[in-house]
């Protein structure tokens, strides 16, 4: 692999990972010598709807809990690599039976040591339909879990699953003590660098240092306060006034210049796995016609969209596989900006006079409104007359996500490895392509690296050809922080905000 290390995902290739050993970054960190009080106030835009990672996939919950309060057997690190974590190593000979060796001396907050029984309990519970785990499908290939000794556990799979280790690294796979299962929502306990101190509903969550953290020398902070500030202007003013130290997700692209100019602030720009798309309802006329969908793709000048809506920040995208993915192929030129071709396709499809559609966006995510405004202007030029409508996030989830009651909508999909959504005809795109589903199923069962890469290349080609949605751009990672705050991940290969190594410069 000649890519830069940032893109060096090694997942799906268990053998390679096994050889890595406990490659935890920052193991030999500098001694904690904080002149400043080692505290950090972080703005997040939304309040978590509960702190139970096994009950909600909400990104706000992951931001607070994942990697900070609770951790999993395997971790996706800042470079996007899959590294051993609570399991210090594992091995498999047949890709069906995985034996995990737990790191010794890992203690739950203020309590006992983590054992293999906890791992068995957590995974059994996750795959039990009664639990209503939001992503039970991630564990459905598990056949049995066998505890060998307090630090060794073997998981047997029903069939090959190339995503197995990756699934164990997801936020829904965090390990908690079995006796604390009932307090996950309000007071989660874990092995993380911080423990929950207080949650003032509607205002803030406060974490305090875990003195027994299993990585020596970490965390660097004594106290972390997450404050819920939905208004980006209010958050920026709070940062400028010194009330908060970090804007983790709320910085608008238009404010990057303002932050850059401020002498006491810094901007962190990076990549994420959040693909911003113009979703089309494939089950509805005229979007059931691939010519119309391709015409709309041709009609959109994505570079102009990024310029207009994102102030030039963000990478133009051509399929649902994002650049942080090791199998990424640049498809952004596959269906290029070409208004003449768009008009021609519309005429062929029986719409010589263009067509009308409603585009729904949600003010909860301002980029959707802005992107929508730019798209309306571009589509108008090829005769696609679009009416923009804002709707509340709650309604969006209900009407569009759940019932696919829409023509077009704009949203960012934050999950990594989410091409599977296009293989699900019930997903709100209502994209039903036998060809895609077949290749995707094959990719899930294929462990051989080269073959898998080929299958992923095929998937991306099919996506670009059939244009079920229009992939617009990758949402950039935009963090604003006080100067002196160090250790924040530059890229965001998963929806987390790992603060274990974050601290203040001397």
């Amino acid at each position: 692999m000649t890519r830069s290390p940032r893109f060096g995902w090694l997942l799906g290739t268990a053998l390679l990972v096994v050889g890595l050993g406990p490659g935890a970054p920052g193991l030999v960190g500098p001694p904690p010598a904080a002149a400043q009080a080692p505290q950090l106030a972080v703005q997040i835009t939304a309040e978590p709807p509960g702190l139970d990672l096994t009950a909600t996939p909400a990104s706000a919950t992951a931001t607070v809990v994942f990697y900070n309060i609770q951790e999993a057997l395997v971790k996706v690190d800042a470079q996007g690599r899959l590294v051993p974590w609570l399991a210090e190593r594992w091995h498999t000979t047949d890709n069906l039976n995985y034996t995990f060796f737990l790191k010794k001396g890992v203690r739950f907050h203020g309590g006992r040591e983590l054992t293999a029984d906890d791992v068995k309990f957590v995974l059994d519970r996750a795959r039990n339909p009664e639990t209503k785990h939001p992503n039970a499908r991630h564990y459905e290939d598990i056949a049995t879990i066998h505890v060998r000794d307090p630090h060794t556990v073997t998981i047997a799979l029903k069939q090959n699953n190339a995503m197995f280790l990756h699934n164990l690294a997801r936020q829904g796979s965090v390990i908690y003590p079995r006796e604390a299962v009932d307090q996950l929502k309000a007071h989660p306990i874990g092995t993380g660098p911080f423990m929950l101190d207080r949650w003032d509903r509607g205002d803030r969550v406060i974490l305090k240092r875990n003195p027994d953290y299993h990585v020596k020398g970490l965390p660097k902070l004594d106290r972390v306060t997450f404050r819920f500030i939905p208004d980006t202007n209010a958050a920026l003013a709070a940062l400028q006034a010194g009330d908060i130290d970090v804007m983790a997700f709320g910085l608008g692209p238009e404010s990057v210049e303002v932050v850059r100019r401020a002498p006491n602030l810094q901007v962190i720009l990076g990549e994420t796995t959040s693909d911003v798309i113009l979703a089309l309802n494939n089950s509805k006329k005229p979007f059931s016609d691939v010519r119309v969908r391709r015409a709309i793709t041709h009609a959109i000048d994505k570079a102009e969209v990024v310029k207009g809506a994102m102030f030039g920040l963000g990478r133009v995208l051509g399929s649902n596989v994002d650049p942080l993915n090791p199998y990424f192929v640049d498809m952004s030129k596959a269906v290029p900006y070409d208004p003449a071709r768009a008009k021609q396709l519309l005429t062929e499809a029986g719409y010589p006079n263009g067509l009308e559609a409603v585009l729904k966006v949600t003010p909860q995510y301002p980029y959707t409104v802005r992107t929508g405004e730019v798209l309306v202007g571009q589509l108008e030029k090829v005769g696609v007359r679009v009416k923009l409508e804002q709707m509340e996030w709650g309604q969006w989830l209900d009407r569009i996500y759940k019932n696919a009651d829409y023509d077009m909508t704009i949203i960012g999909h934050a999950e990594a490895w989410d091409a599977g959504n296009y293989a699900n005809p019930k997903y709100y795109y209502r994209y039903d392509s036998a060809r895609f589903q077949e290749v995707y199923a094959a990719s899930e069962r294929t462990l051989e690296e080269k073959k898998r890469r080929e299958l992923y290349a095929q998937l991306q080609k099919i996506m670009a050809d059939e244009a079920p949605v229009v992939w617009l751009y990758v949402y950039p990672r935009l963090v604003a922080a006080k100067k002196g705050v160090q250790g924040i991940w530059k890229d965001l290969p998963n929806p987390s905000l790992d603060l274990s190594e974050v601290g203040w410069a001397k």
């Binding site: 310029k307 207009g308 409104v369 405004e373 804002q390 709707m391 509340e392 309604q395």
Partner: protein
């Protein structure tokens, strides 16, 4: 020109308010047929510019001409006021007149409902309405209009109650005129002046409510211009291009000022004691 008009135009508040209001209505009407540029046309090369000859009010974040957008935005603000006040006035007058005239059980019921509705102030009811029916300027303005019903109903009822006992009404009844005719011909015309004054007070409040709802993302829908929406967008760019915020803000302030002055003037002029 009649004597009353001359007297009215000498009233400074009234004349000033009338001039401002007419100017805004004029701008709105004019923007239907003419704006210097297409208010929806984007030009990313010229975004967030200050005032210049080409763009007297500068441009917004997509390079749209702000003068054209402020002009077109007048329509939204006027429509907003008209819908909200229209509903408040229409429903309020019917409820108040019916309650005041017929009295008894109907009056009680009407007053209890209006009292209860009064407990849902405009922004709160608009929030609930947009949550129920989706954001849209029409929905939120209907909600604001409903929040205005109680005050119009009470005003009408009070006037009707006061008038019902007066001689000319009793005389009309003695002459055998039907209730509906009396109400329509004799009573309602005499309630008009407090209602007009209240309408000019409610109108600018509706404009402000639209701005507040747009700030929360629940008012006018982009890309169509409304002053409230422009102000909300502008605050994102306050530290980059302060100009952007000045003109929509001034437009709101002038419109509110115009209607308030008009209302003040009308109150003075229609007040029988102040001649």
């Amino acid at each position: 020109m009649s004597r009353r008009w001359r007297r009215a135009l000498r009233h400074r508040a009234f004349a000033g308010g009338l001039a401002l209001t007419l100017a805004i209505i004029g701008t709105a009407v004019c923007s239907l047929v003419y704006t210097p540029q297409d208010p929806l046309r984007m030009d990313l090369a010229a975004r967030l510019e200050g005032p210049s000859a080409g763009h007297p009010m500068g441009t917004d974040q997509y390079g749209r001409d702000l003068l054209s957008r402020v002009m077109r935005g007048a329509i939204a603000s006027l429509a907003v006021g008209a819908v909200a006040v229209g509903i408040g006035l229409g429903v309020g007058v019917i409820l108040g007149a019916a309650g005041g005239w017929i009295g008894g059980w109907l009056d009680e019921a009407a007053m209890r409902v209006t009292d209860a509705v009064y407990g849902f102030p405009a922004v709160l009811s608009a929030l609930l309405a947009t949550a129920a029916f989706g954001p849209g300027v029409l929905i939120s303005m209907i909600a604001v209009g409903i929040a205005y019903v109680p005050v119009f109903a009470r005003l009408t009822r009070a006037s009707v109650l006061a008038l019902r006992a007066q001689e000319f009404v009793t005389a009309a009844q003695a002459l055998g005129a039907r209730d509906s005719v009396i109400l329509w011909r004799h009573v309602l015309p005499n309630t008009v002046s407090p209602l007009i004054v209240q309408a000019t007070i409610s109108f600018p409040l509706a404009i402000l409510a639209e701005a507040a709802l747009s700030y929360l993302g629940l008012g006018t829908q982009p890309p169509h211009p409304s002053w409230g929406l422009m102000l909300r967008d502008a605050q994102n760019f306050l530290q980059l291009s302060a100009w952007y915020a000045v003109f929509p803000g001034a437009a709101i302030a002038l419109a509110v000022l115009g209607f308030n002055l008009l209302g003040d003037g009308l109150r003075d002029l229609l007040d029988p004691r102040a001649s």
